[in-house]
């Protein structure tokens, strides 16, 4: 047995799922390798240290129950706010699929402070709300103009080896990234993402499509999911700056342009996976400060 093989069994040992015959093998290896023996001793002690922490918990605060039940009661007497989903009018959907879209967003709320943000899409209900297009390309520091065009930018970001291994071993990858299906996802969205997803960039199965994400949701929950995604973006301090239906697509398909703080990217993915089957997720860090990531999220209806 090599030290590497020993390490695999060591995890099983620490998790308490080691088979007796494997433990025998470990003992035989330890007789020849004091370093591995020492490693087991120290990791076993660490395991015990960590278990001890479970006892080191202060008691539940006395008012804990009263606090949350009061909040729940207060919420339940209020009407739940409806999330406004901004739908692109049909005529403009065509424009969005064809060319660069330029929108003027109202003046007052896009002050210097706001225009200094990396992506200035509306973030509250009072702001002018309709923003079309696929990607914010430029934000003027001086004026209140926000320019949008139809092509998301792709950026190459290196993926650490460990992360790549995790993606490759993930069930989601195995299920979702059959090359043919991967190709299909982006081909079907090609009308909405013309330049960005050229064949070279979306090398099938290679996860090279930066700036894109895709989720497949049950047909019955399609509209509800779109609302949830809008709500989710806002709750994470981001926004959804555009929503474009893919015309005549069956199953239905919608592309959302998402902007969220980089720090919330994992939380977004985690919540997204509640809503359906996430088949791609590669947000691109958009701004120089690395604080906001942007991506096109293709929401597809599950085929019957």
């Amino acid at each position: 047995m090599t030290c590497e093989e020993y390490r695999v069994l060591l995890d099983d040992f620490l998790d308490g799922v080691i088979r007796p015959e494997d433990e025998e093998k470990m003992l035989r290896h330890e007789a020849e390798c004091p370093a591995c023996k020492e490693l087991r001793a120290s990791l076993s002690a660490l395991q015990s240290d960590l278990s001890d922490l479970s006892e080191d918990v202060p008691p539940l605060p006395e008012d804990f129950h009263a606090q949350w039940t009061e909040k729940v009661a207060a919420l339940s007497t209020e009407e739940k706010p409806k999330v406004k989903v901004r739908f692109t009018p049909p005529v403009l959907r065509t424009l969005a699929a064809c060319a660069v879209l330029v929108l003027v967003v109202g003046t007052a709320l896009y002050s210097n402070r706001r225009s200094s943000l990396p992506v200035s899409a509306p973030q509250n209900a009072a702001a002018p709300s309709i923003v079309l297009g696929m990607k914010s390309e430029a934000v003027s520091q001086e004026s209140d103009m926000v320019l949008y065009d139809a092509a998301p930018t792709l950026q190459s970001t290196a993926m650490p080896v460990e992360e790549a291994e995790e993606v490759l071993e993930s069930a989601a990858y195995e299920e979702a990234f059959e090359p043919a299906e991967y190709e299909e996802i982006f081909e079907s969205a090609e009308g909405d993402m013309p330049a960005a997803f050229s064949a070279s960039e979306r090398d099938a199965g290679s996860l090279k499509a930066e700036g894109a994400a895709a989720i497949t949701v049950p047909s019955a929950a399609f509209d509800e999911t779109l609302e949830h995604i809008h709500e989710l973006c806002v709750s994470l301090g981001g926004n959804c700056s555009s929503q474009a239906f893919k015309e005549n697509s069956s199953p239905r398909q919608t592309v959302l342009e998402i902007h969220i703080p980089q720090s919330s990217s994992d939380a977004f993915l985690s919540s997204l996976s509640h809503l359906g089957r996430v088949t791609a997720y590669a947000p691109t860090v958009e701004d120089a400060a690395g604080e906001t990531c942007t991506f096109s999220l293709t929401v597809s209806e599950e085929s019957e």
Partner: protein, 204 residues
């Protein structure tokens, strides 16, 4: 198994039914929030937020997981979000607590053994909080909360294999940190942890 009547009523907007479903989960949610956040105040905020969020999203619970697992998952997400938003590591909270003398059972007068154990726990907790988040959370859920890989996979939306590898890497990183306390910013060396006694003869 969740009571189907309570589930149906809660999903239909019955706050009392929701309360009946959620109340038994309070100790579990409080515990994980405390383990994740390391301070009473932050744990309380996150735990409260988890219950309120669960209520506001009860209609989206698809019942694939039990109510308690779903709520647990929301609580973990609340903690992760809070840690990210504040950009404060749990260790900072622990330090702040200790500086202010709050939430420190170890500082209470007591037998020497109790004091040493508390100090020992503090060191482990501090090292734990210095781990990268992707390792820390699975490690807390596994080794402290004693959740199975399958449960953790469900809570964190990760494949079980990924959970296992992150825990494995987390253990080794934690051992390394405890062997070299300077890596965690731990200035205290009064009570060596059991796990610090093991040599670092393996190049990890």
């Amino acid at each position: 198994m969740d009571d189907p009547v309570l589930v149906r009523k809660a999903k239909a907007g019955d706050a009392k039914a929701f309360e009946a479903l959620a109340t038994p989960c309070e100790p579990m949610i409080w515990r994980v929030c405390w383990q994740m956040m390391g301070s009473r105040e932050d744990a309380q905020d996150c735990a409260q937020e988890a219950f309120v969020k669960a209520w506001s999203r009860i209609s989206s619970w698809n019942e694939a997981a039990s109510f308690s697992t779903w709520l647990y998952r929301i609580a973990v997400t609340c903690c992760l979000d809070a840690l990210r938003k504040k950009k404060v590591r749990a260790s900072d909270s622990v330090d702040a607590m200790q500086e202010s003398g709050h939430d420190l059972p170890a500082r209470d007068p007591g037998p020497q053994e109790s004091l040493e154990r508390a100090e020992h726990n503090r060191q482990v907790r501090e090292a734990l909080s210095a781990l990268p988040e992707e390792q820390r959370t699975p490690l807390i859920l596994s080794c402290v909360e004693e959740k199975s890989y399958e449960e953790i996979a469900l809570i964190l939306s990760l494949p079980p294999g990924t959970v296992k590898s992150r825990i494995s890497r987390g253990r080794l990183a934690l051992k390394k940190m405890l062997s070299d306390p300077s890596q965690t910013g731990n200035k205290s060396d009064s009570v060596p942890s059991n796990s610090m006694k093991g040599g670092a003869s393996h190049d990890l």
